[in-house]
């Protein structure tokens, strides 16, 4: 595997020509719900990574004393702060629920069994269980966001 194959690929600067690169995962529109789920999983993953960095910065403000911490907390008490937190709730719920579905698929569970393909071909791996899993993750995320909004905006 680590072979002449890799050497050949990288000895020629044109190997990446016509490769889609980031465009491949930024465009979820052409291949059905599984591709949309892949796109959302990545977007929510990147968003949560950025959130966690921000969260570390936020909590580290404790080092600068009580006033600094309260000033940082006030940022989350604004309308935009609430909207951001609702987004965090939605993305983390979707990412977790869909991630659990993917953990099962990565061990070969819930995919169906190989068999004789018969026209018109319908891939068993993209079955109703997978599609249901994606919808459940979306519905859970939407429900969590609505619940979060009802709590956060209740006092206003």
């Amino acid at each position: 595997m680590k072979s002449s194959n890799e050497d050949r690929i990288y000895s020629d600067g044109n190997r990446r020509e016509n490769h889609e690169g980031l465009k491949a995962w930024l465009n979820p529109s052409r291949y059905g719900w599984e591709r949309i789920s892949y796109w959302l999983q990545r977007l929510t993953g990147v968003f949560l990574l950025i959130y966690f960095v921000g969260h570390v910065i936020e909590t580290s403000s404790l080092v600068d004393g009580k006033d600094a911490w309260n000033a940082m907390l006030e940022l989350t008490q604004t309308t935009w702060g609430h909207l951001f937190l609702i987004l965090v709730i939605g993305t983390s719920t979707f990412h977790s629920a869909n991630g659990i579905r993917l953990l099962f698929t990565e061990t070969g569970r819930g995919l169906g069994k190989p068999g004789r393909p018969d026209y018109p071909y319908s891939p068993v791996s993209l079955n109703y269980r997978q599609k249901s899993g994606i919808w459940i993750a979306l519905i859970l995320a939407a429900t969590a966001m609505l619940y979060g909004a009802s709590i956060l905006f209740a006092g206003e």
């Binding site: 190997r15 889609e20 291949y31 993917l102 698929t105 990565e106 061990t107 169906g112 068999g115 791996s125």
Partner: protein, 282 residues
């Protein structure tokens, strides 16, 4: 009964397609073919040429391209051979989706503008013809042949039968229908950003041999795919299975292969091997 039902279902689906097609005029109509043109040896830039091609309801995209090549512009470069979805030569991006040109009827496509581009993730040799070198290298790296230490394949006098039950065959049969057309490779988002990733075709072929109980090189194949540019780069977007024209379902093969890697799926093969051993004794 099940067979009868499946035949009935298929007939219903075919009937539906025929009904859809019959809404098209039987007389000839004209479609606008937009063909990607690029000749890297002469010019690095690319453009689209437009052709008006007469079609009938059974005309495929390949037929339309060959009409354009024969009567309008002989310099269009296309790779094709069997015209019946068996050779896998005429893969291209048709209206944004990787498909076989010989397997795609114009009547199946909405609108009368057909845009033909080379498959993404394959360097362009010329026009619609891509370079499959990497793709075949990845395929070859999976050692796509039976390894069996107990069978002498050199000495013909010592040839041994491989015994398999129909159930054993069904474990890998669908993956052996791969025609290496490259559609799955071009639809895969991981291939798009990592040229060292073997891609769905090669990984599904690795599973095809892992699932075959005549093969005894499971561990070495798992070692081949288990690296940082290997099977873990698959994120189950499922696009490979959506575009596969032969029902191979590479995404299924890849996930099952991962099951073997994390020790979830070994029992299937062990059961098959013990069944075969029992058959050999009787």
């Amino acid at each position: 009964m099940t067979a009868l039902l499946s035949i009935k279902t298929r007939r219903t689906k075919l009937g539906h397609d025929e009904k859809k097609e019959s809404t098209l005029e039987d007389s000839r109509k004209v479609v606008h073919l937009r063909v990607y043109r690029k000749n890297p040896k002469q010019d690095k830039s690319s453009h689209f040429d437009k052709f008006e091609v007469p079609v009938q309801r059974w005309t495929t995209v390949l037929d339309a391209l060959l009409h354009a090549k024969e009567y309008l512009d002989k310099s269009i470069a296309i790779r094709y051979s069997c015209r019946m979805a068996s050779c896998g030569s005429c893969g291209m991006k048709i209206n944004g989706i990787p498909r076989l040109a010989c397997y795609t009827k114009i009547s199946e496509i909405d609108g009368n503008i057909i845009t033909c581009e080379p498959l993404p993730n394959f360097p362009v040799i010329r026009d619609l013809v891509g370079d499959f070198s990497d793709f075949f290298d990845h395929h070859g790296a999976m050692e796509p042949f039976i390894h069996n230490q107990n069978v002498d394949i050199i000495d013909k006098n010592r040839l041994t039968e491989f015994i398999q039950t129909p159930e054993d065959v069904e474990n890998y049969l669908q993956f052996s229908y791969c025609i290496k057309c490259g559609l799955c490779y071009s639809a895969c988002p991981s291939v798009g950003s990592d040229t060292r990733f073997p891609g769905p075709q090669a990984l599904a072929q690795a599973y095809r041999y892992v699932a075959d109980n005549r093969d005894d090189a499971t561990q070495s194949r798992l070692n081949i795919v288990d690296n940082k540019h290997g099977i873990w780069r698959c994120h189950f977007a499922g696009s490979c299975s959506v575009v596969c024209p032969k029902g191979v379902d590479p995404a299924l093969g890849i996930q099952l292969l991962r099951g073997h890697l994390v020790n979830f799926s070994k029992n299937d093969k062990k059961l098959a091997e013990s069944r075969t051993r029992d058959l050999g004794k009787t």
